[in-house]
Amino acid sequence: MAYPYEHPSETRVLSTHFGEPRARALSFWREHGGYDALKKALEMGPEAVVETVKESGLRGRGGAGFPTGVKWSFMPREKDGPHYLLINADESEPGAFKDRELLRWTPHQMLEGALIGAFAIRAEHVYVYIRGEFFEPAQVVARAVEEIYEAGIAGDDVMGSGHAIDVTVHCGAGAYICGEETALMNSLEGRRGQPRVKPPFPAAVGAFGRPTTINNVETLCAIPHIVTHGGQWYRQWGTEKSPGTKLFNMSGHLERRGNYELPLGFNLKELLYDVCGGIPNGRSLKAVIPGGSSVPILSADEIDIPMHYEGVIEAGSMLGTASVIVMDDATDIIKQVRRIVDFYAHESCGQCTPCREGTTWVAKIMWRIEHGRGTMADLDTLVELSRNMIGTTICVLSDSAAAPVLSSLEKFRDDYLARIPKTRLPAPGPAEGAGAPAALAAGDPAGAPAHAAVEA
């Protein structure tokens, strides 16, 4: 059952034990077949495990959707030094809250998948990179790690197989960009979390200069089930290109928010109105962000679509992390887009000019439009700036910032036009700098939100 609500349409594979406190314990997990898949994988050998995962068609659940088995097969087969498996538990995409649930309810599910993955890519050390804010989930995972060391499941001799795999919980310190795989490696190495230029790809030169694979928590949680039942079993759900089940993170204006595990390809409209109980307070739908804050917004008439990777792309957006943010008809879409862009301006690592400057300026322009001080020329500037932020940087953070701006300008242009004064603005008063609207002087200016107070 998916916490906090359950629904008959759900297909529970990963979320079977959500909301069940006992499931955190190794003893419970072993009674329910836990670590049997690891034992089976150790007997199968690395090649067969990779083949099984390839056959399942499992795609990475961190947002990009790259096939996991293919990713694993990029790792060198001959070892001339250590290999690493990094677990990306730096969940911080606005709208996404699935990994936190997996970490805090089913830590052993993830660890089993991680050990199978580490065996398949011949890694001897697994680092669980958990975002620093997740104290509570990190404590639960830490206890699970203690238990598998005590039980001989991790360590020098994994389940008596002679293979040695270590597991270390590593906590971040607050930076969205560390969810990008190369930034995560830099952060793990004790550097600023700034993405690296690819190539070289992590499978060749990764963490500590060694071949490395980075997998999302949800991806690894699916692995034990696939190894137990076989690749074809996983294909009973979803489509040819998007097999399996997926946790859908439902937030915003919904009657029953929460995580729901459903087959990929589930209809978005049905998801909103049937599974989540529709929009509360008798309101109607205005917009949906289907895959977390970094994907284009869909308008209310674009939601009759299947939620799989290819289906959402066809609708002009992306599945991302399947983090569905729902906005009702009373939503100030400009304020929300501005808030999203503020986030990207705050989280830009500062390496690339189009992102560092672009996110900051887009945030400033969005702020003045929101506060009724924008001009028609600002709309064109927004489009020009945003287009220059796509495909011009090392990572996709600036592309992510541009997506909600461009899509909202296209689909909710009337909202923007309604905010733009029809008459000339009065000359700025003495308290205002040139181009700094009164709202900025009043506090919480774009690009320097209140949380900057402690960091400054």
Partner: protein
């Protein structure tokens, strides 16, 4: 709406109304505090935001020095220990001052500028002191849609502070946070270690009341290593002092697995020595008794959640 609110503000339990706050937080099932041992891979890394902290406390002494050894044993080089070590410094001192950054640089053999570059990059390192309870209100999109701005404003008015300020009683600092990853439970508020979920503006006074009660009832925890002078530690000193930091200087054996058997044996004996470990790790199957002893003091004892 058919919402069932958890009175402990630890998540909306929805169809799971039988869950207690401790069940949701997982407080009956946590690793031992790093200072109490624990498996090497589990114990060293996860940070705490203690309610009680001392900006002048010595770093890296006593149990903290031992924990430092465990941290160093998990990575091929000392630089990789930077984030965990800064976490630890903040746990002890409450914020990371330029002086603290320099101490950490000396400890790990890094240039001070490198450490400052890292410490100022990440948002969780407070660069100035904060109140006993650092209240971080998520105002990002999912929470914002459900009234996060009102919650943030209410926290500010109820504590009588501006963002980032410490309240007059020294208890509270309120800031806005970016997405906390609890979007299904808006508004998400992180207070030191704890998440408070489904917070609306009307719940704010009761949360502050609860924190005040906790803050006043918590006894002063003796500071490990205090009174031991201010000798500065370095990687070499930690290694040569026999703390488990691998078989050689970290980095020297980056080609080999960097956790020595000695480290594990030591961890194992730590566990064995803590003979009451069964009672400390309250099994999730048994009815939860008071497991608060080994947890951060900022966490509620189980009885409090009712």
């Amino acid at each position: 709406m058919s919402e069932v609110r958890n009175p402990g503000w630890a998540g909306e339990t929805g169809a799971f109304e039988v869950l207690s706050e401790g069940d949701v937080r997982g407080t009956a099932y946590v690793g031992r505090r790093p200072l109490e041992g624990g498996a090497p891979g589990a114990a060293p890394s996860y940070p705490y935001q203690l309610a009680e902290r001392d900006p002048d406390a010595p770093l890296f002494e006593g149990p903290y020095r031992e924990r430092l050894g465990k941290i160093l044993s998990r990575y091929p080089d000392a630089r990789a220990a930077l984030l965990p070590v800064l976490n630890m410094a903040q746990e002890v001192r409450g914020h990371v001052s330029p002086e603290t950054m320099d101490e950490v640089a000396e400890l790990l053999g890094l240039a001070p500028a490198e450490v400052r570059g890292v410490a100022t990059f990440y948002t969780m390192y407070n660069r100035r002191p904060v109140g006993r309870y650092l209240i971080q209100v998520c105002t990002n999109v999912s929470c914002n849609l459900c009234g996060a701005d009102d919650v943030a404003a209410r926290f500010l008015t109820e504590t009588g502070t501006a963002p980032g300020e410490i309240s007059e009683d020294g208890l509270f600092t309120v800031i806005e946070a970016e997405c906390l990853g609890a979007c299904g439970f808006p508004t998400a508020v992180q207070i030191n270690n704890r998440y408070f979920e489904n917070v609306d503006a009307d719940a704010v006074p009761a949360i502050l009341e609860r924190l005040r009660a906790e803050g006043l009832s918590t006894p002063q925890e003796p500071r490990p290593g205090s009174g031991n002078g201010r000798g500065r530690a370095t990687v070499e000193a930690v290694v040569s002092a026999g703390t488990p930091a691998g078989s050689g200087a970290p980095g020297a054996d980056s080609g080999a697995r960097h956790v020595s058997a000695e480290t594990r044996d030591r961890a194992a004996s730590d566990e064995a020595a803590g003979g009451d470990s069964d009672s400390r790790h309250v099994s999730a199957e048994t009815p939860r008794s008071d497991s608060g002893a080994h947890q951060d003091r900022a966490q509620p004892a189980d009885g409090e959640s009712a």
